[in-house]
Symmetry: C4
Subunit: 259 residues, 4 copies
């Protein structure tokens, strides 16, 4: 049991405490160690980007940002909860990077995970295109992210992406990887965070926080205006969160200093 736990925490693919499962009769085979986690990321990201894009394409004005915010957040809660034991439920290159930096996964899984997430983003956006009317799809560039404000205000949008991603990554790292603060409700905590960050900041930058969510519809609708912002903002925000946890907020095992 202790061995099993150690192994799991090194592979770092669990969001929910692994302690409730009986030990497997045999060690996991290569499919279970390598391919199934990648497949989990691919399927989860595909579903997440599909449903997120549909919610933006089919949005109605009278409800403000409520519909896309609830859709993205509740989708994260449900998908993270049901795939946590398969892949760790990252579905986001920024999360994969921050989790790696906090010792939550092995280096050789980082690139395959990010590749699966980006591929899932493209597949999900293509599924959204297949389901919706051409006019609705085109009107919002297939749900690709767009800065809604004048060019002079691009700084605010970038600041928003950095701050929001820093917030959500801090919630994820403390709720799922820092032993002292681990919480089995973490899928719902991260889902709540997606809801409130989109509700608050959705009209500034769209509150992307996830390059895979930005990349998929950008490819499918070939819309690249300000696309760099949805890579730079989330990655910088995720890095700040990882530093914050590694240096100051983490427990003795997570913290690199002040032990």
């Amino acid at each position: 049991m202790a061995n099993e736990k150690m192994e799991m925490s090194e592979v770092g693919v669990t969001l929910v405490s692994s302690e409730v499962k009986p030990p497997p009769a045999r060690p996991p085979n290569k499919f279970e160690r390598v391919f199934q986690p990648c497949l989990g990321e691919l399927v989860g990201t595909t579903f997440f980007v599909f449903i997120g894009c549909v919610s933006v394409i089919e949005n109605v004005e009278s409800t403000g940002r409520l519909q896309p915010a609830l859709v993205h957040g509740l989708a994260i809660a449900a998908l993270v909860a049901c795939m946590a034991e398969i892949s760790g439920s990252h579905f986001n290159p920024t999360f994969t990077l921050a989790i790696y930096l906090c010792g939550g996964m092995e280096m050789n899984m980082v690139a395959p995970y990010v590749a699966c997430q980006l591929l899932g983003g493209v597949l999900g956006a293509a599924m959204a295109k297949a389901m919706t009317l051409r006019e609705s799809f085109t009107r919002v560039h297939g749900a690709a992210f767009a800065v809604l404000q004048p060019d002079a205000e691009i700084g605010g949008a970038l600041f928003g992406e950095v701050a929001m991603t820093c917030l959500i990554t801090t919630v994820l790292l403390l709720g799922a990887f820092n032993v002292k603060t681990k919480n089995p409700m973490v899928p719902f905590m991260v889902g709540c965070t997606v809801i409130f960050t989109i509700l608050a900041g959705g009209d500034v930058s769209g509150t992307c926080m996830n390059p895979a969510r930005a990349f998929g519809p950008a490819v499918v609708s070939n819309y690249w205006t300000h696309h760099w912002l949805y890579w730079v903002g989330p990655i910088v925000g995720g890095l700040i969160a990882a530093i914050l946890v590694r240096l100051l907020l983490g427990d003795r095992k997570m913290r690199l200093i002040l032990k």
Copy 2:
């Protein structure tokens, strides 16, 4: 402090309520093994279809799809949670089929379950008719599902039903039947999924995902346009999810290959 914690863990708060129950003194009798589960499906589906139909009949335009989405999703969460130990809380022929294919129930209960669900759908829709004004009821065909888009776009609606049902059935199978990924919050995970799929896709196909929910109001208001779509879409989506879990995402016990 350490002492206090130890003491707490002996009487720890568990989310899985079934684990805290003492073993039954006698094996369950025939009523408990056969009739009570069917009755649970009948009562649960009746309440679910009743409240779902009322939410559509009484919907107001200014809140988009928020009211029906929240009603259907929260009703599933509450009803699934309180009847799970009685019938397994399917309330949906597609779920019954997928659960059977994943080894979650015996074959001789499939037909009685589906019959009770369809009967519950009709009873629920009739209750909704008894409660609401005739004009409101007629305006939306008693909350029967309708494809809101031009005939040329019927493919998009079908694709939506298949994809959404595949998503929700995957969440259900992983959260409730796959041992490795089982989660005591599964009633709320499935409820969340109902909310976000209706919020996202409700204006394309209505996001039915459940033939019993479609069948009840169709009978009561005798409205059958495109009714086939709400059988074919959900069943195909449920089958894809069962295959996905059985071949690729399931644990060693669930998976048929790659062991």
Copy 3:
């Protein structure tokens, strides 16, 4: 421990499993057995009716029934969860009656509980009056319930109150008192049910389901039109739920027949 449990289930005032608490050093004194539970009902019902009435008085039209539905439901979830171990968190004469009929409390506590709930309803409605502008208060009769439909349709409103109260009482009895289906998430299950029943049926009868919630503002604003409906509907609905659980859906201990 076994003794303690029996005692608790006879007093029957807990919504959340009593099994998680260490046994008290001494038996509870009279204040804890009699006065504190009544006080819990008084404080809880006061807060609930206060916040519920404010939500109706301060409602805005553009969000349909979302604001009052969420306020009543989330208030029930939070208040039930934090007072369950004090009074059982009924806050509703219908619940007290149904719980008594299902063996969940002693007969001599029924009348004091109902009295505290009605007094709490009046106090809560008076607090709502103290907080809000006179015009807003008067416009909605201090949030007293009103049938919004023509007199010919009073049957629909009565049917709605009966059906909705039957639904929520079934969720409560199965989630909190039927051992086989008990669930620690029951405060949130009942809260969800309040949300979805108000969202669905709020424009027919107001979805009261609670005579104490109806009685308080009726006294404070002296508005008694159709007031009988908010006693008859909930009580009949609660009785049907108690019969359903006692005869058919309950476990072997709860069920009176077919053992």
Copy 4:
């Protein structure tokens, strides 16, 4: 029974994350006892006030109070859950005061906690200013609280702040500190309470309940009209809640009288 429970507790799913943690090898050092809790309050309050202010600055009229209510409440739920083991997740001088009065923290930490909360409020409001357009920011005084009603009605606003803060502090004290009613879902219970109090009373006084949330934007936008109200109301409400719990609702350990 006792054996079974013991066995279960070895693999039991626990909601209280602290119970699954092994005891620390060494006692916590000074950084962990003093500086890290203060840092947790600073970071948590900064994030909370930042996101709360952005939600008010970016609010749209058609959704009533839904967006700010959900943002403040879900932010509290997620941040309280992930920082509870670091600082106790007060993020509010009123909570710190009430918790101290109920024996939940040491006196020498009260002043540092309040200082960190106020500093976090200012930092959060400054971050909100950096992210949003100047016009939007100025229009709502940087999300500083404002009494929306005529001066003659200031009593209603004050009453509202007192009553709402009393309600939320009661939920917090019963859910997190009173042993008999402790509940691992308390972050979500308090989050729900934030949502429903803002939804109900947001147009009377803004439903602040937190001097740090009021102080930050007041400093950044230099807006001090009626600012005293957002200190007096919450503090009086918190004191009433502490008295209620200490004298009447608390368990034998918490209660000062009637033992």
